[in-house]
Amino acid sequence: MTAQTHDTLTLEPNIKDPDGFYAELLATHEGLDRDESEALNARLVLILANHIGDRDTIRAALEAAKPAR
């Protein structure tokens, strides 16, 4: 299963007010040091993955997130 063949993961724009979302994401990290930010990101990944739930969609997201080679 790769991102190319998968159609339940949305990689088209899907967030209303993208600038607002981005500011909110950064604001959540405000005042955190590197380790704390890293821990927050890890918690966020787990929370969002659980919200999605569907293993195929999560797998497609993991693929899409891999560094480009």
Partner: protein, 536 residues
């Protein structure tokens, strides 16, 4: 307490084999009188196959070692005649608590399903188990069964050929030769048999040391499994506290990789950690201190002609999840009925290849589960630790993260999906009892279902008609006729019928389901028996 370790249970005695002019031939020789070797031998003796067990020692193994025994192995030990002793002496536990740093992040209840004779888990020191198994050997001997236990017999050479194995055995009186039609090697993770035959043992090494300190203490800790990630008394590492009988407590402390093993074993070094863990006023004494490392690996195949490997000799797992000794019993449970049919000439040798198919499959499942637990407990990379800690942080507040916490999973038996021995299935019957699955126990009007199963092929009929016995080319299939009136709790119907009005289950001698139908058909049953004995 040390007495049990020091008492020879099967001291060396000169055997007539040592004075024979030519090597004496035995149908089956088992190497190793640990739990798995003794289970194999007892199973053979109960099936009237003469067996000799060789072990270079003559006592129970030193220290508590394996302490958690799961339901399925207890059912197997019931069939071998040791289940009551185990459960009567063992500590039953259901509740586990998980701590992270100084906080309790959650607790879990194993919530064992009702309607089973045996509990999900008991804790018991391995030396008690070994003692009960040796007692059982003695009882079988008193009944005239051909089962022999030779202590002080060290095998120094193993020469297999097409029809058997020649062994060179070292004893206090010097060496002797013996022959075996079949050899079962249960000689542990460091299996000398495996080494002598030059066989592989591939897998993954975990670069970590763990300290076991079994302590005797009168403490009012509850009968629960307590697991700490990164506790203040063992910073950056893990810890476990678990109760055994006789006020013995298992304490397991992760130490890391680059350590001085001898220094870490010094009680003066351990004591401050234990005081911080147990509280300063707790009186305890050490029963057993040991440092271990572990690997997750298995042999490529467990059958090598006339030599069959079982238990740790065939596969090794991390201790997290209690899948070592527990899976060893499931190996011999799977192997012995097959070997019996092959020796009796009622099944072809190919049946033994399915021991490979089924138990390699189970070993891979055990290795997978145990490796995953280990990766959670001892993160191997920075990212792995970050996610582990994130899971633990979230588990304290959010239910969704709790199933991700992995301090060892409940040891469950493998379901042999895809086994070549599986016969037909029908839609609509409960998935848990599909072909390949071990029988689910259920309370009957007069006892337990599990006690009525095993030892031979059986046709379990629930509100269906069938003959009381069938003969399929020399294999006898006996009927166990059950009906709704035998099922006061409804568990039998729930586990075996679902919505169906009746069912017919073909059960293997190891209490696994071979095939099932909703009504009896003699030709279909005969075909399934042939499939289940590799004659199809």
């Amino acid at each position: 307490m040390t007495k049990i370790f020091e008492t020879p249970l099967y001291p060396y005695q000169r055997s007539p084999d040592q004075d024979a002019a030519t090597p004496v031939r035995h149908p089956v020789v088992v190497l190793g009188a640990g739990p798995v070797g003794l289970a194999a031998a007892i199973d053979l003796a109960q099936a009237d196959i003469p067996v000799v067990v060789l072990d270079e020692n003559d006592k129970v193994s030193w220290g508590s070692r394996a302490i958690c025994f799961a339901k399925r192995p207890l059912e197997i030990l019931d069939r071998l005649g040791c289940g009551d002793e185990m459960v009567d002496k063992g500590v039953v536990w259901n509740l586990g608590k998980v701590f992270f740093d100084e906080r309790k992040v959650y607790d879990f209840n194993l919530l064992p399903e009702d309607g089973h004779k045996r509990p999900a888990f008991i804790n018991l020191q391995q030396y008690y188990l070994e003692q009960y198994l040796v007692d059982r050997v003695r009882a079988l001997q008193a009944d005239g069964k051909a089962i022999e236990l030779r202590g002080g017999n060290k095998v120094t050479a193993v020469k297999p050929d097409e029809s058997g194995v020649r062994l060179t055995v070292e004893t206090p009186d010097g060496p002797y030769l013996m022959d075996a039609d079949w050899l079962i090697a249960c000689d542990g993770a460091g299996s000398p048999t495996r080494t002598m035959l030059g066989l592989d043992f591939q897998g993954r090494v975990f670069e970590d040391n763990f300290l076991i300190a079994d302590v005797v203490m009168k403490a009012d800790f509850p009968t629960e499994r307590w697991f700490w990630f990164d506790p203040p008394f063992n910073k950056g590492q893990s810890a476990l506290l678990h109760k055994q009988p006789d006020d013995v407590w298992r304490i397991d402390l992760q130490l890391g990789w680059d350590i001085d093993r001898e220094a870490e074993k010094d009680p003066a070094k351990i004591a401050p950690k234990l005081e911080a863990m147990l509280g300063p006023d707790t009186d305890y004494e050490f029963e057993w201190v040991s440092i271990y490392t572990f690997q997750c690996r298995r042999m490529e195949k467990f059958r090598h002609g006339r030599v069959l490997f079982a238990g740790d000799a065939a596969h090794q797992v991390s201790p997290f999840g209690a899948r070592g000794a527990n899976s060893g019993f499931q190996d011999t449970d799977n192997l012995i009925w097959k070997l019996k049919l092959v020796i009796d000439g009622t099944a072809p040798e190919a049946l033994l290849d399915t021991y490979d198919d089924e138990r390699v499959y189970a070993a891979d499942e055990n290795i997978l589960n145990s490796s995953r637990s280990t990766d959670f407990i001892t993160p191997k990379s920075h990212a792995s630790r970050v996610f582990r800690d994130a899971v633990l942080d979230l588990a304290e507040h959010h239910a969704f993260a709790r199933p991700l916490v992995n301090s060892g999973r409940l040891s469950l038996p493998a379901i042999y999906d895809g086994s070549p021995l599986n016969g037909p299935d029908v839609d609509g019957l409960p998935i848990r009892s599909r072909p390949g699955a071990p029988a689910s126990d259920a309370p009957l009007r007069d006892g337990w279902l599990i006690d009525r199963l095993g030892g031979g092929f059986q046709l379990v009929t629930i509100d269906t008609q069938a003959p009381d016995t069938l003969d399929v080319d020399g294999i006898t299939v006996t009927r166990l006729a059950l009906s709704a009136k035998d099922d006061p709790s409804g568990a039998l119907a729930e586990r075996y019928l679902g919505e169906a009005p009746g069912a017919v289950y073909l059960m293997r001698p190891d209490q696994h389901v071979a095939a099932r139908w909703t009504s009896f058909d003699a030709d279909a049953v005969a075909a399934a028996v042939k499939t289940a004995t590799a004659r199809a």
